[in-house]
Subunit: 309 residues, 2 copies
Amino acid sequence: MNFADRLIEAICQKKTRLVVGLDPHLELLPPSMMNGVSRNNRVQLADVIARFCIGVIESVGDLVAAVKPQVAFFERLGGAGYDALEKVTAEARDRNLLIISDAKRGDIGSTAQAYADYHLGVAQPSSEHELQCLGADAITLNPYLGEDSLQPFLRHVEKGRGLFLLAKTSNVGSANFQDRMISDDQQAVPLYHAVAHLADMLVSRYPAGKHGYSSVGLVVGATFPEQAAALRSAFPRLLFLVPGVGAQGARPSDLRGCFDPEGLGAVINASRSVIFAYRDSGGGANWQAAARQAARDLRDEINSSVTRG
Amino acid sequence: MNFADRLIEAICQKKTRLVVGLDPHLELLPPSMMNGVSRNNRVQLADVIARFCIGVIESVGDLVAAVKPQVAFFERLGGAGYDALEKVTAEARDRNLLIISDAKRGDIGSTAQAYADYHLGVAQPSSEHELQCLGADAITLNPYLGEDSLQPFLRHVEKGRGLFLLAKTSNVGSANFQDRMISDDQQAVPLYHAVAHLADMLVSRYPAGKHGYSSVGLVVGATFPEQAAALRSAFPRLLFLVPGVGAQGARPSDLRGCFDPEGLGAVINASRSVIFAYRDSGGGANWQAAARQAARDLRDEINSSVTRG
């Protein structure tokens, strides 16, 4: 089944448009988990971040459409960090959660192939010549290198995986290049619109899912609601992965324009405001309960913002 | 000492402008190294790629200004691959070779910080609160997310590290976005020129090295010699890391425009055409000798193309 359909069915069955980002900042972990852990011991720290992320998955798994591990925080711990990343994704898979690898990779040729095969390959190989992989259901990609850099990833789309191309990101610096006006099909449009246009052209090569969405989507920041709404109406087949709610400042009420009239077409990511919610609720003893409460509240706020649309 | 000066002194002392890319494609490794290795055993394969890359370093170390590990091929093997990557960079460091981590990372906030700290942090921590890092001397970065995404990396520039921003890459797809004309300072320029302009502005915050070059440079493909020459004359302070020679089709004669009148300002990367040179010279028993010969030939061709300028 194609990725877009799998994501939309998770949204509809679980009645949630929320994605929780697994961003295990070492400095923000519940202090109780750091007892007896040496701050320079990568194996110990990797064990802590794996246990933390698995604890998040246990707490919020039924409230989210997918989880989104942020690869940087695992890479920070080298090989031990990647072992932790694979433990976390295995746990998510066992619980039938979709996994979006937030890797923002972008490269060419055999290098792009290696990234694609690791992130999107099958996690449990069936033959003795197959290598173990991360086995995510989707990955975030940086489009700056152009269409040929996406080809190795598109081969995995044919096998049911999904891609989210960075279009208009949630940070202030997204104005530096993404907002620059260029000529595209004789129209002046911002660069991020040309990225969306490329995604839409790629999409036309693959049958859209039964809900009308393609498995090649966009990353569109909630911090720019007008741009998100303009992209939504210009590109009705593209799924959006929307960061920027919570710690980055966007509010659920900014999200309306990301959705189609049926309230589909986007998933909303929150990371720190959910997984480290214990920091705003006094103490880390109940950090899992705090994460669950924050996820439930945000899920409900997002759902309300949609139904009010 | 700043990175630009360290790189230029390596160029001048060793009389080479060559960088060798450590791209251990599993399919191209010398067959003799694969004897008894199971194709799905990541620990065994990681051991092979570490031995292969260290063998390359032994063979060509005195002929190159730096080595450039391509992180994707190590990540392909998960945690075992990162262990191999760190073994390889440790070996390069022991031999006083500069290391450019070809990671093409690009992200924001604490995520960018995690990538920066891992790739560019100090490899041998001095305190019990410091984490082990890869410890590369420089990294390649994707600029699509804009200036704020570069800030965590710039903090390492202050400590002697270098950055190479993707500007005009060597692949055909670089035309999709990088060549789009935008308005920059009231001039119409291609997007890659605006990236170079941002690098040049960042540069002005750091003192240039004694050779006049900054530690924030560009990736500029040898496959587009006219564009490279135009960038060289417009941005005299920016170091170029130039891929595209060899397997990608550019020739040493295409490189002239990458250099300044003193023959400095650029290093030229070759990967497959050097490290897998044994494939063109019949058999893998002497793969190290073949790599050494290919590196020596290419070094000399590049040097000749400069002095003919």
